[in-house]
């Protein structure tokens, strides 16, 4: 938890740096008139997925994936988090990742992001914890694929990478079919976190979403996932299946 507190302190410091007022150009306006147009700062908080997950192993979990940002057109501060609370395992919820990132627009559709990340329990010591340095490329590929890739170096020096892509196929003005994929890989084995060397896992999903409003959209969907190599072995040793499917129902919303 101390880690999160440190991150939040960092976020507020960055936010202050970002709100330095923009200067008007030089055209003889007396001081005190102010600029005719000023720089604007905005913020939003998107819960991309807040879903209930039923796996084919009769496990149930609440899963979330959110991102919030504040800033101008070029520079922004991001907070991104993904995690789950497996139901009935007696353990508290866990952040798979919680990142605080500085983001810079480097091309029309791309942001380069860097900062710190956290993995571990939310309010308890039920889960092992570790911190990361995170570098991320976030944006839209041609053909409108939304992409989030990350490269992480843990406080132990372990290196891992993840790739997420999703696509919105518009069925009607309010209904979307969203294929989604997530791939993770690691350079070192970190058994404590169930991470093997090489390709860790691939997950492919599909969600059908209906926008009651632009800001509130319930969905249903399913996914298939498979772990590979050492990662799959670790999972087997724990008595779990390295391959499986699941059904989800949830809501996407932003504020």
């Amino acid at each position: 938890m101390r880690f999160i507190a440190r991150e939040l302190a960092g976020a507020s410091a960055l936010a202050i740096m970002l709100t330095v007022p923009a200067h008007a150009d030089d055209y003889d306006a007396p001081p005190g008139w102010g600029a005719p147009m000023t720089e604007h700062y905005f913020g939003t908080f998107l819960i991309d997925r807040l879903e209930y997950d039923w796996t084919d192993e009769n496990e149930e979990a609440v899963v979330w994936d959110f991102q919030g940002w504040y800033g101008g057109d070029i520079q922004r501060v991001y907070i991104k988090g993904e995690g789950a609370n497996v139901q009935g395992d007696g353990e508290d919820a866990e952040f798979e990742s919680l990142d605080l990132l500085y983001s810079h627009l480097i091309a029309d559709f791309w942001e380069l992001q860097g900062g710190v990340g956290y993995q571990g329990g939310i309010a308890s010591n039920d889960h092992p914890e570790r911190g990361f340095a995170v570098l991320s490329l976030f944006g839209q590929m041609p053909y409108r694929f939304e992409v989030d890739t990350g490269l992480r170096v843990s406080d132990e020096g372990d290196v891992s990478a993840d790739f997420e892509a999703e696509y919105d196929l518009r069925l009607t003005q309010r209904t979307y079919l969203q294929p989604r994929t997530e791939i993770t890989a690691a350079a070192q084995e970190v058994p404590e976190f169930g991470v093997g060397k090489g390709l860790n896992s691939v997950r492919v999903g599909m969600r059908l979403r209906y926008e009651i409003s632009r800001k509130f959209a319930p969905y249903i969907g399913g996914y298939w996932q498979k772990q590979y190599g050492d990662t799959a072995d670790i999972t087997r040793e724990l008595g779990n299946e390295p391959e499986g499917t699941g059904v989800v129902a949830g809501v996407r919303m932003w504020f």
Binding site: D25, Y27, G32, A35, P36, F42, D73, Q140, R144
Partner: protein, 645 residues
């Protein structure tokens, strides 16, 4: 020339109108809002005129379209009252700020001293809460104009109104009765919320996007190959061909003189009368296509300035433009005034009728159009420079007509052999310089007619052997030896003869910029001494808007005009949206090829991919605002200061 009788009757009508307007405002018993539509002859929200005019600015609760709303009002109405001035008089316009934030009023289209122009931070400090400011200036022009706040996003809250300046001399046309038609777009959301929604999720208000059904429709119509090619081009660019309006009828209620369609604002006439309709687009974001089914409209003024009469069935009015049209309803029936939003997501509507309560059918709305190739001319995705070693052989039956402003420079080693039956007509402003080693052998039956302003310099080692049956007629080099185009010439890449997206010119006669010719020549007929090209730039995804890629907060100085100079401004729209570009303090003379009858305007619409140029006489020393008049584009940074010194 106006006949004496019609001038007289007009004056009488004005008296009646102002008496009504003033009495309702003065008594305060019956706000202009409650007036039965059309009782007032000119404008339903009352008029203020005379030597000393005062406007009180408030935020208050008023119903709009039958719902509770909180607009900004001027003397109790939103939009505000009609301000009526007389050419040759001195205006004294006092603005009293009863808001709890700063405000301002810009007198749109008026030529006046810079300190009276009403732009906070450039003309003056703005008007603090509880304070007032009096704009005093000599009125040296006449026609139809408007006024609006230049502070923040207040314009979106209805802080705007019409302004008419009566001519000192008879105008070049006559009429029996006049009506103001002020078009606005109202939203029940706060403007800041609208802006944030656009910034966070650009397509927020667009409920007419392409769906999978449109894809299959296109496949059925145009075949799978064509459809895939079209769609993949747009998808590759990560843009929407349905992005016609940023803010749409999904949040906007479109208003005519402050009245929603169902309120049916009615302007009265007696059959046989000639009516002057003063149409003002006072919207924050919406272009309209205006027509009155059953009536021919004769355009007699654009942006307040008289033009040679143009009879039309419909005209597109960009944000901040004004058009004066004459109509002659000679039958005892009602006519619908139909102002359809450019993206077809809604409309404003009113009625012209011999008496109140009459209605005419409301036309069906058109379907939203998809933007085509022409929108991409300025886009990076259509830059074919630096293409090398492409084999385009065996292309046949392609239609490249209507491609404009494309850059084909630096193409090397291309093989265009075996192209047959291609139509390259109507290509404009293409740069084919620096093409090397191209093989154009064996091209047959190609039509290159009507290509204008093309630069084929520095093409080397090209093999044009065996080209047969090609028609290169009507190719014009628009580049004279001197460098600058001669004054008034249309720029390569301009599309003044096209009314724009979503209009079928076959369906009815629609006004275009080519039709606009000044009624008589404007005094300054000098050629430009220099030209200044500005790119209109943006990032749709992030909702960033700018000139030359720099937002106002990023530029380090004003655009400098030398006092007394005559210069050419060129706007090259590299974005996929229309932009109405407005210069304060000076006219822009639109170089649409009208010769010495070059028309002048305060706001110029620049279509996607288009190059538009205007001549400016820099005769107004001082600092002036210069911006895109789409409110959220301006506020996002598509704004500059022009300093004349």
């Amino acid at each position: 020339m106006a006949s004496p009788t019609s001038t007289l009757s007009r004056r009488q009508l004005l008296k009646i109108a102002s008496a009504l307007g003033l009495s309702t405002a003065a008594l305060g018993l019956r706000p202009a809002w409650a007036n039965p539509s059309g009782i007032n002859n000119v404008y339903p929200h009352g008029a203020v005129q005379g030597r000393d005019i005062s406007l009180a600015v408030r935020r208050e609760s008023l119903p709009i379209a039958g719902r509770k709303a909180r607009p900004i009002t001027l003397n109790g109405t939103s939009p505000g009252p009609l301000i009526r001035l007389r050419e040759g008089d001195d205006a004294s316009l006092k603005v009293v700020n009863l808001l709890d934030e700063d405000t301002s009023i810009h007198w749109h289209g008026l030529i006046l001293p810079p300190e009276m122009d009403g732009v906070p931070g450039i003309s003056f400090a703005g008007i603090a809460p509880g304070q007032n400011f009096t704009a005093r200036f000599p009125v040296n022009q006449n026609g139809t104009y408007w006024y609006h706040s230049h502070s923040g996003l207040q314009e979106q809250l209805g802080h705007a109104g019409p302004m008419i300046i009566d001519a000192a001399q008879p105008e070049p046309f006559s009429y029996d009765r006049e009506h103001v038609l002020l078009l606005t777009d109202w939203t029940f959301e706060e403007p800041e919320t609208v802006f944030r929604n656009l910034k966070v999720a650009e397509g927020y208000y667009n409920y007419q996007e392409r769906t999978i059904a449109d894809f299959f429709d296109d496949v059925a119509k145009n075949g799978l190959g064509d459809t895939l090619a079209q769609r993949s081009m747009w998808e590759q660019m990560r843009m929407s061909s349905r992005d016609i309006a940023d803010v749409t009828g999904s949040t906007y209620t479109y208003l005519l003189n402050g009245h929603a369609s169902r309120d049916n604002w009615t302007g009265l006439f007696k059959p046989g009368e000639k009516l002057r309709l003063r149409v003002i687009n006072g919207s924050a974001m919406s272009y309209f296509d205006v027509r009155i089914p059953g009536l021919k409209m004769t355009v007699v003024a654009a942006d307040g300035q008289p033009v040679q009469p143009v009879p039309v069935d419909e005209f597109r009015i960009a944000v901040a433009e004004t058009y004066d049209v004459l109509v002659e309803p000679d039958v005892n029936r009602a006519y619908t005034i139909f102002a359809e939003a450019m993206d077809r997501s809604g409309y404003a509507r009113g009625t012209l009728a011999p008496r109140l309560g009459m209605v005419a059918p409301i036309p069906e709305r058109r379907r939203i159009a998809d933007r085509g190739m022409e929108a991409m001319a300025g886009h990076g995705g259509m830059d074919h420079s630096a293409m090398t070693d492409m084999d385009d052989s065996d292309m046949s039956g392609m239609d490249h007509s209507n491609m404009q402003g494309m850059d084909h420079s630096n193409m090397q080693g291309m093989d265009h052999s075996n192209m047959q039956g291609m139509d390259h007509s109507n290509m404009q402003g293409m740069d084919h310089s620096n093409m090397q080693g191209m093989d154009h052998s064996s091209m047959q039956g190609i039509d290159h007619s009507n290509m204008q302003g093309m630069d084929h310099s520095s093409m080397q080692g090209m093999d044009h052997s065996n080209m047969q049956g090609m028609d290169h007629s009507n190719m014009q080099s628009a580049t004279p030896a001197g460098g600058l185009l001669s004054a008034g010439t249309a720029q390569p890449g301009s599309r003044y003869d096209q009314p724009g997206i979503g209009i079928d010119p076959q369906e009815r006669h629609v006004l275009t910029y080519s039709d606009l010719k000044a009624y008589s020549p404007w005094p300054d007929q000098r050629s430009p001494g220099r030209e200044l090209e500005l790119q209109l730039t943006g990032n749709m995804e992030r909702y960033m808007w700018s000139f030359d890629g720099e937002k106002f907060s990023e530029v380090d100085g004003p655009i400098l005009f030398e006092h007394g100079e005559r210069l050419r401004l060129i706007f090259f729209n590299t974005t996929m949206m229309e932009h109405p570009i407005h210069l304060h303090g000076m006219w822009m003379e639109l170089e649409n090829g009208a010769g010495e009858l070059i028309p002048r305007k305060h706001t110029l619409n620049v279509k996607p991919g288009e190059r538009v140029s205007a001549l400016v006489s820099a005769d107004a020393p001082g600092s002036w605002a210069f911006h895109c008049h789409l409110l959220y584009h301006m506020d996002a940074g598509m704004f500059r200061v022009v300093k004349v010194a």
